[in-house]
């Protein structure tokens, strides 16, 4: 047994095993510290492919790996599946939800973001968001069950509402979900039903702002819209949602009857940030110092989606590469402090912006270099599979995608868990 808690080395507590937390832990592998990695789940999740689990293309284990398996050879890390209730940066103490404490010398808070309903939490049960594997399986169940119920009902209005899928939010996740939904309806389910034609389903993407994928240049947004429409998605921009209930979505004067509504519109920072006792920005994120430390608490850092920081005068986006870079920077800062050296400013290195839309449809922007369509899709595909953790996962994902590509079949069309509306 290698009980790192016995060693008299500085104790680094990392909260959250996402990109920021995991990359920080790895970058500290040969540092003179003992690390405790806390996560409420047992796995690191490759979030960029989460929409594929939601849309039945991949299995949950294809895009996740146990944190302790990833870190097994790094002997200075102890992984604990625990949920954190609060962090006291002055006392340098973390409190777990069961009341136990863990003291630290340095802490990294990297618990990311969750979905936010802009003060309308009552929408949550009707319009699930996509952040965890459980969210993805919930969405998968709703999508597949809607087609099953449409086949079973004789009520034509109900059938139409069951075959209407409204996705709220035209960012990368909303675009991915809408494009894939359209492919499922038009191709995957073709010929499998006797009373309905899934190709007559309506997939609607509702965006409050003037264009989809607003983090890209306007011409790429326009190309994304055209690609979505080509796949069969109805794209509505400038349509903020007024309300969502079990019957559908209200946009302005128009009510869209839709039994399946998916939420890809708002994210809010993890509520753990509030326990730090420092000012937060409007999205609930911690405005950190340039070395990613919490203002007034140089031993406590925030990285990933939970951190609000500027680089070269521009806000760092909430994407995986930024989270990894921040994680590594925190590791460097801790190392520097231990060596009595000054900390450096975090600088975000922007490798470009990618968004996938559907089969052979994507947009890519790297500086002034832009790409859309099939070539962009291949670029996106290889970039994502390459970054998946684990050789086996890469192989399985490629196999599933090759299969899906040639057959239009999706490998994971299995409804798991109880349908909350099964009683109807």
């Amino acid at each position: 047994m290698n009980d790192v808690s016995d060693v008299a080395l500085p104790h680094v507590v990392i909260i959250g095993g996402g990109f920021a937390g995991l990359w920080a832990a790895r970058a500290l592998s040969d540092a003179p510290v003992r690390i405790t990695m806390l996560d409420r789940g047992n796995h690191h999740l490759f979030q960029p492919l989460l929409y594929q689990v939601a849309t039945a293309g991949l299995s949950a284990p294809d895009i996740a790996a146990p944190l302790r398996q990833i870190l097994r050879r790094q002997e200075n890390v102890t992984v604990l599946m625990e949920e954190v209730d609060a962090i006291d940066p002055a006392a340098r103490r973390v409190t777990l939800t069961d009341g136990r404490h863990i003291d630290f010398d340095y802490a990294l808070l990297a618990t990311g973001a969750t979905h936010a309903y802009f003060g309308h939490d009552e929408w949550a049960e009707h319009a699930p968001g996509l952040k965890s594997l459980d969210d993805a399986l919930d969405i998968r169940r709703r999508i597949l069950s809607a087609f099953e119920r449409a086949e079973a009902t004789d009520d034509l209005d109900e059938r139409k509402a069951l075959l209407t899928f409204a996705i709220v939010g035209g960012g990368p996740t909303g675009v991915e979900l809408a494009g894939t939904m359209a492919e499922i309806a038009r191709h995957t389910l073709n010929g499998e039903f006797r009373h309905i034609d899934p190709a007559h389903s309506q997939v609607m993407l509702l965006e409050a702002g003037p264009r989809v994928l607003s983090s890209f240049d306007p011409d790429l947004s326009e190309k994304a819209r055209l690609q979505l429409e080509h796949l069969g998605v109805e794209v509505l921009t400038g349509t903020p949602v007024a309300s969502i209930d079990g019957k559908g979505v209200q946009v302005g004067e128009r009510h869209i009857p839709a039994r399946t509504v998916l939420w890809a519109a708002g994210v809010a920072a993890s509520p753990l940030a509030r326990t730090l006792g420092v000012p937060l920005d409007r999205a609930g994120r911690v405005s950190v110092e340039s070395d990613l430390a919490v203002p007034g608490h140089p031993h406590v850092f925030v990285a990933g989606d939970l951190a609000s920081v500027q680089s070269d005068g521009r806000p760092v986006p909430g994407v995986a590469p930024a989270a990894k870079q921040m994680g590594r920077h925190v590791a460097d800062t801790i190392r520097a402090r231990l060596a009595g050296q000054p900390a450096t400013h975090f600088r975000y290195r922007d490798f470009g912006n990618l968004a996938t839309i559907g089969r052979m449809a994507a947009v890519v922007q790297v500086g002034r270099w832009k790409l859309s369509g099939a070539l962009a899709w291949w670029f996106w595909l290889w970039a994502h599979v390459f970054f998946l953790i684990g050789f086996r996962n890469r192989l399985v994902v490629m196999l599933n995608w090759t299969w899906a590509y040639w057959t239009y079949q999706r490998a994971a069309r299995i409804i798991l868990g109880k349908d909350p509306e099964a009683g109807r």
Copy 2:
């Protein structure tokens, strides 16, 4: 749209998309009937590999496929995801749980078995059984969470109880679970924990009768026991369980503290059989006529684990090959009835008995021909992968197993869903 319900052909309703129901539907592909296949799930499940999902070796979608995808080309079948509440064999009517009715000319009831706790339903929450994918994911969560909690606790008694896994029932499922659990503890998790050594876990197989795998000859039972012990399982025979609670298992005077107890001891027929209004055997199964019809109701059939029938003077076992043969026989009988020909007796063709125990450990009995150890394991592996539905599934399962074989890693070690005891 091909609405088979409009066609004026005899209507065959098949309840349950397991081996019996699916094989019956396929065998009726060119018969002059219209078929409605009802299942409360959306998938056919390859039950023989369910223990691999429970023990994190395979993903749920690896061993399941949507019923409507399997049957997409068979135009005389409508698949509906519906739960059946009752069957009235005299009125030839099926009632769904939402109150709607479906009338039939012929019906096949093939809803199989569920786990039974011999009148101790209060054991269910502490000792889950393994029949569905949701059961498997629940068991997976319990097993993986037990190791996580053992790592996190400082209470040595609690840690020992968390690292004790008791499997109740020494039939094929109990043996598979125990053997695989031992492999996980000894090999898969090796080196991943800092406070515990998973290899010190205790895996116990508790069998009430005098030997494990009692459907095999005694010498093979003995070989199975030796192989289990070699893998690190403690096999206790002649030890009926007196009680199970959240603390552990009571066997005779002995209390075994175990936080994870799995139930593989008893099955009971699906409760739908009770609605037929005919006498049932002790296990709740329907004692059918020799043509598999319900006594007094020649238009209603029972097949698979729910049917009690003799062949050559011996009871037909509740195994997948028997269910497939019964399903096909019911199809033949319906065909004969429609043609005005006499029905034939069902005869079970016994292809032998296989049980897997763990890595390179299995027993096989085909008539007088017996095999155990590595060769039996290879035989079992190929037989099972060969019978998996779908080329993709076979490929993915082989890939996962090849990976697992060389690395001892299991591909699906992801905890999904809320842990019911997460609050502790």
